[in-house]
Symmetry: C2
DNA sequence: CGCAAACTTGATGTTGCTCAAGCTAGGTGG
DNA sequence: CCACCTAGCTTGAGCAACATCAAGTTTGCG
């Protein structure tokens, strides 16, 4: 089912049509991009690259999930995003990565080395535009996250997070959370204790169920959406 | 001195070479872009467009300063950026603006209407790539801001803000703050009272001087930088 | 079955928010 | 030209939300 399974040594042909970076491009354009790409794997917890490293290429997540983050000198961490299948990372026109990237679980990636990729941007029609769409979409997500971090209360942050995850995963009310509580806390600008307490509160109120620590079931999406937009019942 | 002054009815020729959007493009490419552009002005407090509006075009700030922001239904506001001379806004590949834009003081803009601009992206060599650089740079700023909003304490936020403004303005220790305290508060995820108290504290400690409400002089950049990166003396 | 890591729950503390007065500067009209 | 007026800034006192510190408890793995 997963490409990762099929890939277990030695890696066979990639399913070209599935690469998100090529979505919307002509067949010939897509095949030129695929030509420079290589598959890469990372184990859970492994670091792909760190903030400040030379950007050696662009990556696309094939399976698994990554966390992107920035650190303060004293170790405080802000996770800027969780990336799943089809999402792009590593675009760094200024030459160095501005965030670190780690695998949350085992991850398969498609890597486009910098050298070849840079050339393709100018040569492959539509590619620059496709990348523009990708970064614009990321920018939009970043702005939503700024609103969340700057102006939402803890319960509103957690509700927004659950709905975002549900959205990313398509399936409406059964969410997988591959990341731990401390990743969630560092994504929402909270502590793990506050995240945990809020989960418990939502469970007690019947908004969600927690079959396991890493799995959430949405029970009352409407009320969760009210919370996420700041209209939740403050009594709860 | 300002283009705004020179422009007072009727607008004369634009100084093409000064348009930031065209930076790095060939002369002929630049002139095609300028051909579709029009000048536009906005008074202090005026709204350029609101979140959810159809994106009718791309803008470049020529003089003055804008605030970009998002709102929650109950009126809580998060300012996602302050834009000065040479900065681009309004790129919205999905067709609608994802933030609102207002003039802080009187502003002069260069507007590239959507219709013509879309075509140019495909036709003008290097333009798509130039736009990619612009959005990548914005994305970088957005990620810095996420770290600030999620993980920095009040004094660290204010110190970071002052240094950012100093940076944007080039001149090292005399900063103009065209925006009011409530704009600063909504940018940093604080209240105006906390911003005001922190300014007073920095002044008392000799890190800054406040000749007027809208003007800051940096007196001890090193210590301000320590604060901004979270290494400031917690005793202060 | 035992161990360690991660999560949950509880008690207490602190930062920054809220509410409430003053204060100041800039603009207006007498 | 000056006094007034108002919007915005500053300052203060009390409070609430979330962080911190400290045990327990669960989960998954060897």
């Amino acid at each position: 089912m997963y490409a990762a399974t099929a890939l277990s040594n030695p890696p066979p042909k990639i399913d070209v049509s599935g690469l998100a970076l090529c979505r919307g491009l002509a067949r010939q354009a897509a095949s030129r991009i695929v030509a420079v790409s290589t598959l890469q794997r990372a184990k859970a917890g492994e670091t792909l690259f760190s903030e400040g490293d030379d950007a050696d290429g662009v990556y696309e997540v094939v399976t698994g999930m990554l966390r992107l983050y920035k650190l303060l000198p004293d170790g405080r961490r802000q996770i800027t995003g969780f990336l799943g299948t089809g999402q792009i990372l590593g675009l760094a026109p200024e030459g160095t990565h501005v965030y670190s990237a780690e695998a949350i679980n085992d991850v398969t990636l498609c890597r486009y080395p910098r050298a070849g990729f840079e050339r393709l941007i100018d040569e492959v029609p539509g590619l620059a535009r496709r990348l523009l769409a990708v970064t614009s979409h990321e920018l939009r997500a970043a702005q939503d996250q700024m609103l969340l971090l700057g102006r939402k209360a803890a319960a509103e942050k957690v509700a927004s997070f659950l709905l975002l995850m549900a959205d990313q995963q398509g399936n409406d009310d059964e969410i997988a959370l591959p990341m731990g509580r401390s990743d969630i806390a560092d994504y929402l600008g909270l502590t793990i204790e506050t995240v945990s307490r809020t989960f418990t509160k939502f469970k007690t109120e019947g908004l969600i169920a927690l079959p396991t620590t890493y799995r959430v079931e949405i029970r009352d999406r409407d009320q969760l959406e009210d919370f996420a937009s700041g209209q939740g019942d403050p009594e709860l």
